[in-house]
């Protein structure tokens, strides 16, 4: 009865009442408005676009990964053939593989810049400690996805990457050989190794990744996109700044009430997320995706010969983002030293990065005013670059 009456009304009215009905049942427009018109800092928008670009690139990996799954077979006898078929017989196969590879390269690069930005602007400080921790775990998950993805094509490069990477746990005292056996499904790299790595790459890591992205974005919205020193260049004791503090105290969500923290709870000037920030986000993501689009087409993804465990002249080279780690293996000779070097030094480095907000607890946010964290971090970055240069030199002279 109600439906038949609805059909008798003019089209525009039908549309409007239909939209009202949908809004009443779902609250979709309200949700959209909440998302689009959130106040974001006026300053630093281009730097903040790195975060959304990271998300866009992760979604691009999901997208291109689904297409690869349509052809790829995770079996030692079929994996190489299925990708070789994709390359030679499918007009767009090489391009899609190229998108996935160059997407991964770009993602690692951009996620690094995003972390660097967060570090320099000290956005990880109270109350955003867990934003940083979840982001650091996301970074490690992306590295895990990158290395497991490099093992899947089961060409020579993939096979030797698998051999070396699954052998690294061997140097963990007591339990290392057990971990190696569990990952490989036996003492040596074999058929089970590939299916396990595949499962880790397709389900285990993405499941963790997307769950944590949800938490990361929730925390971002809870605490606001503020916190960087660039947004707060005024004297916290000035009248103007005190007024801002008052305004923030009445604002939603409830921001910290300590005056020194209030100063970093909301910036002096804000703009609505749409269209000011969204424009920058979309422009940067479009630019990056265009680079991937072009590089995926003209450079594509390499496929060596099929995996051959009896090779004598193949020189395995790691992916560029693992070159520093690979060089670490070269300079840490002998058994106990490898354990101390790789797991000790890298473990401490990773822990420092993960727990940075709990190590650097000062209120100071300007980079030049906190040399006690900037200098060790620059030293770590320099070490990584130094090892990369050593690695490039070694591979070049081989």
């Amino acid at each position: 009865m109600i439906i038949s009456r609805w059909f008798t009304r003019p089209f525009k009215s039908r549309l409007r009442s239909g939209a009202d009905w949908f809004e009443d049942r779902t609250g979709a427009t309200e949700l959209l408005h909440k998302g689009l018109y959130e106040a974001v800092p006026k300053k630093g928008g281009w730097a903040y676009a790195l975060g959304s670009a990271t998300l866009a690139l992760i979604l691009l990996q999901l997208f291109s990964g689904i297409f690869l799954l349509l052809d790829y077979v995770p079996s030692v006898s079929e994996a190489f053939n299925s990708l070789d078929y994709l390359r030679t017989s499918d007009g767009f196969g090489a391009w899609v593989r190229g998108l996935h590879l160059w997407g991964a390269y770009t993602l690692i690069f951009v996620i690094g810049l995003h972390m660097l930005r967060t570090f320099l602007s000290a956005s990880y400080k109270r109350p955003r400690e867990l934003n940083w921790v979840s982001g650091a775990v996301l970074f490690f998950l992306v590295l895990g996805l990158a290395i497991t993805g490099a093992m899947l094509p089961w060409d020579q490069a993939a096979y030797w990457t698998t051999t070396v990477v699954t052998n690294i746990p061997h140097y963990i005292p007591f339990i290392g050989d057990g971990i190696r056996t569990l990952w490989r499904g036996g003492d040596f790299v074999g058929p089970i190794t590939l299916t396990r790595t595949f499962a880790i790459h397709i389900w285990v890591l993405p499941f963790l990744l997307f769950s944590l992205i949800g938490a990361h974005l929730y925390l971002l919205r809870r605490h606001g996109e503020f916190g960087a020193w660039v947004n707060y260049d005024t004297d916290p004791d000035s009248d103007e700044e005190k007024q801002i503090g008052e305004r923030i105290r009445r604002a939603e969500p409830p921001y910290p009430t300590k005056r020194i923290e209030r100063r970093y709870a909301a910036p002096r000037e804000t703009v609505p997320f749409f269209p000011n920030q969204l424009f920058k986000d979309v422009l940067l993501s479009t630019l990056l995706i265009a680079v991937i689009f072009v590089m995926g087409l003209i450079s594509g993804a390499p496929l060596d010969g099929a995996a051959d465990p009896a090779t004598l002249n193949y020189v395995p080279t790691p992916e560029w983002f693992f070159l520093p780690l690979d060089q670490f293996l070269v300079v840490a000779p002998q058994n106990p030293l490898i354990a101390i070097g790789v797991f000790g030094v890298l473990g401490i480095g990773a822990a420092l990065m993960l727990f940075l907000p709990f190590i650097d607890r000062s209120h100071e946010r300007r980079p030049l005013r906190r040399p006690e964290v900037i200098i060790p971090a620059l030293f770590m970055v320099f070490t990584v670059i130094f090892f990369a240069v050593l690695g490039i030199n070694r591979l070049y002279n081989l």
């Binding site: 051999t163 058929p191 465990p309 009896a310 395995p316 070269v330 000779p333 490898i338």
Partner: protein, 165 residues
Amino acid sequence: MKQLTRREALTRGTGLGLGLVGVMLSVPAVGFLLSPLFLKQRSSWVTVGPIDGIPVGKPTPLVAEVPVGTGYPTPPVRRVVYVVKKPDGGMLALSNICTHMQCDVHWDPQLGNFLCPCHGGLYDIDGNNVGGPPPQPLPQWVHRTSTDAAGRTILEIENKLNESI
């Protein structure tokens, strides 16, 4: 004994149910994950080939089709056996699996060493680690020799190494 309230009983029941589900799911999951640790290696011998023509003092690579020892049956895996004949009449059947990260090493005549291309590990002609990161000498394949009807010496290997690496 204190009488349970309805609220307490329901809370305990919920906890008990969740705990039971946890136990039921972990037993097969943990067992499944750990099972490779208790797998027995399938042992089998393969013929590598005649070795009479191999010169003394020159490590020579032979390729054997070695059945995999674990996992479901797949075609045999090609593996390298470096046969090293010693001046004193001894013979080594070295594997070319580097003890550092298990890359394939090869004999480099210019260096007079086995060289690993991955991280620059070096071994001497007897397989002793003499440079770079490898922590132990190259293992040998478990091997034996026999004489065939034509009087040739035939090398056979088992699908395992004489030392764990």
